[in-house]
Amino acid sequence: MTDFLLELRSEEIPARMQAGARAELEKLFRAQMSAAGIDVGDLTIWSTPRRLALIAKGLPQATAAVSEELKGPRSSAPPQALEGFLRKTGLTQDQLEDRDGVYFAVIDKPGRATAEVLAEAIPAIVRAFAWPKSMRWGKASASSESLRWVRPLSGIVAIFGEELIPCEVSGISAGYATRGHRFHCPGEITIGSASDYAEKLRACHVIVDHEERQSIIRDGAAKAAADAGLTLVEDEGLVIENAGLTEWPVPLLGRFDEAFLEVPPEVIQLTARVNQKYFVVNDAGGKLANGFVCTANIDAVDGGAEIVAGNRKVLAARLSDARFFWEQDRKTKLEDHAKKLDRITFHEKLGTVADKVERVAKLAEWLASEGIVPNCDPALARQAAELAKADLVTEMVGEFPELQGLMGGYYARAEGLPDAVADAIRDHYKPVGQGDDVPTAPVTVAVALADKLDTLFGFFREDMFPTGSKDPFALRRAGISSLRLILQNGLKLSTDAAATQWLGQSDPAAQLNEKQIADRKILTSIPDFLTERLAVQLRETGISADVVQASREWNGRDDTRLDRTEARARDLQAFLATEDGANLLAGYKRAANILKQAGEVSATPAATPPTDADAALLAALDAAEPAASAAVAEERFTDAMAALASLRAPIDAFFDGVMVNDPDETVRAYRLGLLARFTGAVHGVADFSKIEG
């Protein structure tokens, strides 16, 4: 058993691609080995900006010899069949075995030296390697066929045990020599085997294990902050990125001018993080402090003083830009910024951002004035919506698009607008993803929901639906966000009413032209789309799709109120999990089957119940029906389910005690009538026919 070391050296590999590259190297290596019949156990895979390394422990010296047996044609088969078989196997007829009139070819494959397998596998791995973006370089790139790699490939180390694996890719031959740290140890170093690789590199200022570098950064940055009485703002993304940019990471704490702290903390953090890859730190009170931690790639001869001074200067220049934007943007009121939105196209078929803002303002105002978003001042909702997008034309958001909304909120507060308006501007893009908080402040809810509904209505009106994996306008996300706003705030919003309002068709007496009539398709497509999203969401909380299907009809039409569909589905799911629910469902199925077989029930039922069991069910129905329908009308679905539960014992007793298909036609008709009433009562609560099982 022998260990194998492979190192692929490259000019600096982008930090964000290194994790993917490690996975790719493992995948390709395993595929090559498995094709050759070599078992590979655990692999160690490391990356630095300048190398990918793989160590496979305990490989065999050679692959096992295998004997392969192939069944051929019958010996009585026409000669063409035999010729074909000989061509396929590369044997002659006398080498075949005749077993009971059938030819067999026995091919012995001797084992191959693993070194030989590796020598073929390495170039194949390099050539097959998939990078997110790759390039050509050097003299060889005069031909289109030249090797592609993420950046120029500069060296290969391939050692099996202590033996060099001779191989070559695009003019680069494998050898024992690698290079240490670019500045600390620029010369060649010779590797003996997999076992001394990491330590030899460490001696040359390269920590090849990315996880070790991550720990050094994580712990070192925290310590640098703590030593100054500060707390590091943890950021695992930055830890990984800095580990991908360094071979010898040295976290260093620096300070910036306290005067910059007047700029919003999010801006400082973003500038430091995105542009400079620095961590930020908090003071003892948990507020952003005037410090940063940068990660150098060298043990500087002066302990890093010059590096910190240089980085401080760069950050200061960045922060002065940010402060300039912060000051500049506030010189103009948001309502004046908003006037420039008519220069930005939202979508060619949906007009400018200014057009969108006006539609959103109308819808938000309507949601408030109708009381759909309770306790919401319509004037504030309109004002917030009109200003919500104004920060898109500010310098700061131009520089940092991620700060959209947030900056608008700051600017609104700075010019003295009401908190409810500033908060709504800040949070109206929420909820952004699954983990994001759902706003609850009324004005914010009105603007956030109106914004998303406007997007959905607009694209659906133009027939631009999400299809399969294609959703270029993120309409599914807009749908899910709308849903979460509606459900978590318990909004009793009929989405078709909102669509009617949005289309400007709320006057029932108005004459509509053809285009306007065609636009009304969104009155059904939107509720349908949102109910589908609801079913997907509910499935994740254990409510099955058929239960949602059973809950989506209201007064003979699709229910356009998502809160109601959801409440009904939840209560129905809970009810079906009870013994009463499960038995009632069984009783319902049985009744429905009998009714289906009976076809049309034509005879007039007898006036009086033929037996006590009939009378008991009748009495139960008389009591349950009004209770259930009253509860449903008031949307008390738990009560409605309880009313149904009261039918469970009588329906069970009924089926136990009587035969529905009584020879007496009047009795039969009476009983069928009772069952029809029973299923009708159940349908009044939910469409049990949609429920599976």
């Binding site: 930090a15 973006k133 390039m135 050509r136 003299k139 790139s141 940019l245």
Partner: protein
Amino acid sequence: MADGADKTPLSFQDMILTLHAYWRARGCAILQPYDMRVGAGTFHPATTLRSLGPEPWNVAYVQPSRRPTDGRYGENPNRLQHYYQYQVILKPSPADLQERYLGSLAAIGIDPLLHDIRFVEDDWESPTLGAWGLGWEVWCDGMEVTQFTYFQQMGGFDCKPVAGELTYGLERLAMYIQNVDNVYDLRFSDAVGDVAAVSYGDVFLENEKQFSKWNFEVADTDTLFAGFKAAEAECQRAIAANVPLAAYDQAIEASHLFNLLQARGVISVQERANYMARVRDLAKGSCKAWIDSQSAAWTAKYPGWTL
């Protein structure tokens, strides 16, 4: 500078002269700036057109670059509407390009064991030139000092072979080396005998004030629009007449006039993409015409080479 406590850091002009000497010693022809208004050293035909085709090409030059929208009337310590780029093109890209580049930093006084030099992913793309490449921005203590690119395509054509391009931001680098916070405080030249030193501000502050005003406020937009149209038409005439070098000049002209129109704020967001596409068509057309005019010679001299 701690690494040079005993010696004065290079002046702006000495930094340029040092880079010239460094690259000359590595076989580069030292060219002069192109005599037209351009936004970056890449626009010099010695980069754009010469990065196409199979012939080796190793040059270095300084290119004055104009970015009208970056003007700040001489009031911002870092931003200029006119500045200098130092451009090196090595085709095909040599295997030790990174080492050669780092050698040039050492030559102008940057010690890599005192300063943190890093290659940070940055994929370069010029939509107006129909060009892209992969490489890095080179950081020195967190500051971008050079754009380092392996050209993959120019004018929409594959670079065969690939050229390595180094673009140094001279003012930034000089501010770093001289440890000054304001570009106008840079020592442009040193005092010699009784001739006083000249600062960057002595040379350029007034230019920044006047050109910022002209770019943003004065330039006549009708004239600029007319100039753009004229350059576009002339470029196409030159392509038709099979003089691609002349055509390319007009593409550069159109590109700069477009930048000026942007600074004047008269091109809407919607129109912007359209203008950029028109400039790209001119640049691509010029590149194609250049290839057409040269490919017979290229294939004769480099058998097996294909576009």
